[in-house]
């Protein structure tokens, strides 16, 4: 039945705290009662009261956020497009400077490694996007430990192996991958680039790697699946909803659309406190609103992460896994396992694998790195079940902290089937779009070629445990506090210096 469209003029009259309508994607919503419950604060909504908020809404909400959060009677129906009042976007000096920096990105050829994307991203992303992508839990100890742990693993390369041809392709859950890695799920892609997660879909296709689609994507699930090439393999990361009917709908829809594996997130019964993200928020608010927020019943002080995650079920438990098996035939993988006991339980329950992960350091601070847990898991599976890895029947994945192909090869040598990489791809598409994501994969490809040769490993099967020295993997060393008086008295050694002429630096 065709619905009569509302006129922009009528919408424009509801522009106060007392009656507040907004337009999103051509539909009008009455958000008056929702103002105080909006996790992002009322101020930002009131700015668009009576107007079209789509542009502001898009990057920070999953597409269906508004329809699922507002009761149906607040969905007022479509609006006549041309009549809607636009919000004039004022470009601040800060934003102008950011755009100038954006236009001065170095040519893509000068990007030599994954670190480079991050360095440029820090300069050209909006502060809000940078805060959301880069932040992690509490003191960000685990976040950094994820990378640091790889630096405690050293190589024992072989020589005089014919490495004229080297092949680092592998199979993940039975599907071909050009490299032993996949693009892992990360939320809110449009914060970094208007095309959001689609940039990754395209780059994945081009490079023969597998993408894991996030529950909290900015693009809709179907958009992402639609943009895949024929035969392109995609996986799904799942946050389990308190309303299991919704979860069932998502899972079964995914299976219908051809998703090849379901990665159930188990390390996020509640999203972690990401203080950088939280701190960012205050710069956006005017003081009066903040004060009001502090006294209100809804805690709106906790950044983008919490704002979008209230649906996640903290009651998810081992017993629920049977239900998942009953609703889908997709391989089930637990994402966020952090101790060998739980990996073993997953194995005994007949799941297809686990991702040893701490959610990129965004959940429990002082959780250990996935790569360290991998060592423990492999040891205990051997000890208690006689099982070795890699193993087709039960696959081990690791994510967090990866920046180099050498990191990936260390995980592979230790028994991982593949490694998930997240933030580096966010930084890649936030700086250079699809081309950036493509380049990131090409860089890794180059690094694999070189390092397979230098390791003396013609194929992935030749990357074996004896090629890594892990004797320091569990050394969580924090130096004893320094002697400040002694140290400041010590006059550092100096080398020879030029005479009379100023030094270069």
């Amino acid at each position: 039945m065709s619905q009569k469209k509302l006129s922009g003029v009528e919408v424009a009259q509801h522009n106060t705290r007392e009656s507040c309508w907004i337009v999103v994607h051509g539909n009008v919503y009455d958000v008056t009662d929702f103002l105080d419950d909006h996790p992002g604060g009322s101020k930002i909504i009131l700015k668009y009261a009576g107007k079209d908020a789509t542009q502001e809404y898009d990057p920070i909400h999953p597409p269906d956020a508004i329809t699922t959060n507002l009761p149906p009677e607040k969905h007022l129906g479509p609006v006549e497009p041309d009549t809607v009042e636009k919000v004039e976007i004022v470009i601040t000096d800060e934003e102008k400077a950011r755009q100038e920096r954006m236009s001065n990105r170095p040519p893509l050829d000068e990007i030599l490694n994954l670190h480079d994307f991050e360095a440029i991203a820090k300069q050209v992303m909006t502060d809000k996007a940078w805060a959301y992508y880069s932040s992690a839990a509490d003191d960000e100890i685990t976040n950094r430990e994820n990378h640091a742990a790889y630096h405690r693993i050293w190589f024992r390369p072989k020589i005089l192996i014919d490495v004229t041809k080297v092949d680092w392709s592998t199979t993940i859950l039975g599907h071909k991958s050009s490299m032993p890695l996949y693009i892992t799920a990360t939320a809110l892609g449009k914060l970094g680039h208007p095309d959001g997660e689609l940039t990754l879909t395209r780059a994945a296709a081009k490079n023969g790697v597998i993408q894991m689609i996030p529950t909290l994507a900015s693009c809709s699930f179907d958009e992402i699946v639609d943009s895949a090439e024929p035969g392109q393999v995609q996986l799904l990361q799942l946050y389990v909803n308190k309303d299991r009917a919704i979860t069932q709908r998502i899972v079964q829809h995914a299976e219908e659309r051809g998703i090849k594996g379901l990665f159930i997130t188990v390390d996020a019964p509640q999203l972690g406190r990401r203080e950088k993200d939280m701190r960012m928020k205050f710069t956006d608010e005017d003081p009066s609103e903040v004060k009001q927020a502090g006294t209100g019943s809804v805690d709106r002080s906790q950044g983008a992460a919490r704002a979008i995650s209230s649906f996640i079920d903290p009651g998810l438990k081992w017993a629920d896994l049977d239900w998942f098996k009953s609703i889908t035939k997709m391989p089930l993988i637990l994402k966020g396992v952090q101790r060998w006991e739980d990996a073993l339980k997953a194995y005994d329950l007949g799941l297809a694998g686990v991702v040893l992960s701490n959610h990129g350091g965004r959940q429990l601070d002082f959780a250990r790195s996935g790569i360290e847990v991998l060592v423990e898991v492999v040891y205990k599976f051997k000890e208690t079940r006689g099982i070795t890895f890699p193993n087709e029947r039960f696959q081990l994945f690791v994510d967090g902290g990866v920046r180099r192909a050498t990191d990936v090869l260390k995980a592979v040598a230790l028994g991982a089937t593949a490694v998930g990489i997240g933030r580096p791809f966010l930084y890649a598409f936030s700086t250079y779009g699809t081309e950036g994501a493509d380049k990131a994969l090409k860089i890794l490809n180059d690094e694999f070629e070189m390092n397979m040769r230098l390791l003396g490993a013609p194929t992935i099967k030749d990357v074996t445990p004896d090629m890594v020295d892990i004797s320091n993997i569990s050394s969580h060393v924090g130096a004893v506090p320094g002697d400040r008086l002694y140290d400041s008295n010590y006059e550092s050694m100096q080398h020879a210096r030029l005479r009379e002429v100023k030094s270069k630096l």
Copy 2:
């Protein structure tokens, strides 16, 4: 018998080194003979000779300091209030700047963690107060190690546990506490805020936690007890006086007033050298006084800490504990145990528990952290007595270095009943008064909720030893001195840079 009041005019005549009277809390004291013995130096007293010194006196002395230090014949009796000469307080530029900083504190909503209070406190407290609160012994190695030790403990969280409801309340010495922590005793609260320790009493009431009252409070013991809510649990920290009669009076009075536990400080036969505090002193003195002090018989160079602690008995010994048992029925806990042998001795003597503590790093430098000693104690009790923890009959407490709920949970996992937190609350009330202390507890509460969930622990009993990896707890690693020549020659890696436009930072 009603005493005739002295007139302010008469008092004002005794304003010289030869005859020096001062007024404190409406009473006149002849301090002429005391001038050279004043731990804070004579200069500061002479400034108030013949005048009312109450405002200066209050924050840095326990209320009864003057009455107990002066012989009764020097107590000259009350003064007629309106006649007393006031000292004109000159507000220095430095103080004005401090007050301006104070008025520019961020709103309390922007305080995200306990570190934040400290960052603001450093800006808005007086230098003297900051020096007294923040300083620690010698090179402050132990002070910082207390925090650093927690960073050598990592989590092994469980997944797929139903954590819809999590409960982190516990019982301390049989009394309910909303969290496994208590506000530990710290001296001289009025240095930070005019309401001193009362801010903590109020915040404790509001949040259902237990406060330990310090011997060296700025507010009197009775004031603090009086301000408690009905049923609010309070403990007492005790410095044992050389004059045991005084100690007996204090202990029995405390018991009458309903104090639920007596924490006898055993790590302070002499207060430590806190050099930051000592160094502060010199800025307050004019050079001539300092010189004189250097040659005098009383060492006045050692800061606030020593000034107020000369009564503490260095002769306190194990044999004295029987006497304590004979004068009170309160549970007795030793505060400041630093080796398992002494914890075991306390257990064998039938005490109620020990606090594994090094006095916040303010006593013996290079004492180990309480959390490290906890591991040793639990191991040895198991080995020698077959006892495990937590244990109702003999409770283990830890204090020092705690800044996050994760720190507390680590201690709990290892067997502690609760953890004492001190300085963070000082910084909280010094910056925002009672509201600050309240907010500090609310932050911890939030952190507990999240971390209980992320650990997979629905209740405190579920926080178990297998949830922590302590393999590095005893690694007191100090890095070998660096190669300065090599390091300064090394040219650091650089990443890609923007072209032509200045970078953001």
Copy 3:
């Protein structure tokens, strides 16, 4: 048959992308078809189109690079010398400043150690030369670890040994060396000094040490051999060519010329990514060329290292060693062994020794240091073959990270026959030519004398394993990420300060 010489005028007409001739060392080459394949990019060639490119060509190419890379028909023959058009060299301001710094080097007497050469070199070398010499693979972790590993070895010196006379000479592959070290092979000496590798030949002669000639020398092999003193011992480092006939010619020619040992490089089936070197390149190109390069078929973005190494055979394998034995009687040593298994294999194959090396950190990042591998190798040879070191029949060498005679003595104590030193000599001759290289050897000589005495070792044989404490050699410690909030709140201890007068620094 005498060939008619081309005239410079004719050559000058071929100065475009369509027809491009250049003159090198008096011969004309048609490089038109080669422009897009030039690893260094076409732009730099086009700058010299129709002109004499010798001066630009020399430092960055082995002498025979052009003749071996161009097909014979492109060798157009000699040119009439005086007729060739010269390229006017424009001296940039940057270059002028560099030359001024060069002229202000400190007198050689002020160079006290090998670090000093590097400090001056960083100031006075061209950026390109510095980047090529100093760069290493990926994050340069192994590069720095090479030096750091020596800092984990400590001495246990003997006292009351008569050390009036100390003698640190030794024999290497049966040949006398005044010190237990040799000058190892490093490429492209002319980048640092016009005399290139000859500076090292001369300094080696003067100081009685052995030089290893690199395959990729800027000077030709024969030049280097010719400049040796009678009886001076030289070794040859060999990159094995895909075309084994070329390799055979090189090896047999070397043997004829009296080379005393063949060091086959086995850690470089592909040259590593040296990002500093790669990054340098972009500063030399104009943007349009770079863009074009990015889209072309040849990857020209990878710096000098890859440009000159495309001939190296990644297919070299253990089985090839028999062939080497069949074509030469020189002792065969594998350079670049990084695990004990491979050292043992070399021993079992009857080779003369191995160099435990990771190519100065320029190949596989996270390879362990040679000195650490040495400990492993010596232990395993003893365990599996009962062999101890030093050993005449099979000699162990180590290179990478050496800066002090104490470093060398540590290696000797652990069983190495001698240690290779590379970069320090590059920096020495780049700053002071032959005199610099000579001075570097004299400094080491001085250090040996002193340290032999202080160790209590009259001869090299007296430098024994019990003189070093290697208990920490395998500690690859990376500190846990720091607590940034806690650390920035901590106010550092301060010492006493001067009154009123500004401090010296």
Copy 4:
């Protein structure tokens, strides 16, 4: 026989390189032939040619340097005092600034610890003196490790011990000492203060501690002995001369004068390269002299240390100890033992003890710290001889790196009889003369009192091995090289900040 005195006028005529006389302490010397052999260079002598050089000579030479280095015929006899030409001392701006800093030293009361003396010394000493005192061997790794090693030892204090009275006096070689430490031998005291070593003699007397007199004192041995109080105990440090007759004279004279122990230095067959000291030298020379020096036969580039030590015998050996026993009855102690094997040998030879020392890091770099060697020695004596420490028959001493009484107590707990302290006293008297040295001892005394109490040790005998945790003493940890790209991308956590007002720092 009375010698006719030379006139200043005659002396003044010998003021050239061809004929160069100088006056030192009222005697004339012909140094013409010595000019090129002067370790300090000829320039500095020529500046005083024909004049009185005493003021320049004194601080950097032992008193008898000139008489022992020049043949008797060059001793031209006394000069008529008033006739000697004075060198006009030009006070440079730099020197004026230094003197102003000197006059602005903080009052001695503000010196709170030994570090403070060093901080002030760095500001007020001449560069030459600072370089000589503070410098150490090579990269100064051992120098700093000496202090760092103490930071790897932690305390396990006892509680509830009656510490009303604490007594930290002890006996050293049977002689009473008020503290378990002695002032160890350090050279050239007049560089820091005109009274040189006498400041230490006086301070030692005042505080009841023992002084070890250095061979290379600026004051003569007899001056130092003469200035001692009756009964004051002194020891002698001995560099053994190549000419044993000289050594015998020194030893037997010392015994006659009542010296109570002979500490034979065994870690200095040749003095170490102290590059800071060497580098200092070049600033004193004009370039032409330096150039000449570089080409001459005498190496004058090695700083003060080598200049004064050429007489030391590198041939000293174990067999010589019998000779020492034959010429003196003083207890013989080896100073500079660095491995347990040598300590055991000393014990078996019946010596009285050893100093576990590396000469303050001034000799062999990478020698381990004395405190670490102590642990090894005590363990091995127990294991091989069943001997425990402290032990009257064979005493263990340690020196190097001590800055706090806690450092000393750690050594005592581990078995040392006493600890030698050197540099801190140099800095103390260089800044405040005798009063400074006295204050340094008083500070240590204060620290002992407090720390004995806090350790729960009423006497030195109560300071036992169980009071220290040495599990990390042998951890020579050097952190793995950092990931510069990752680290520079990481954006540090920030805390809450003030609004609108500039922060304090």
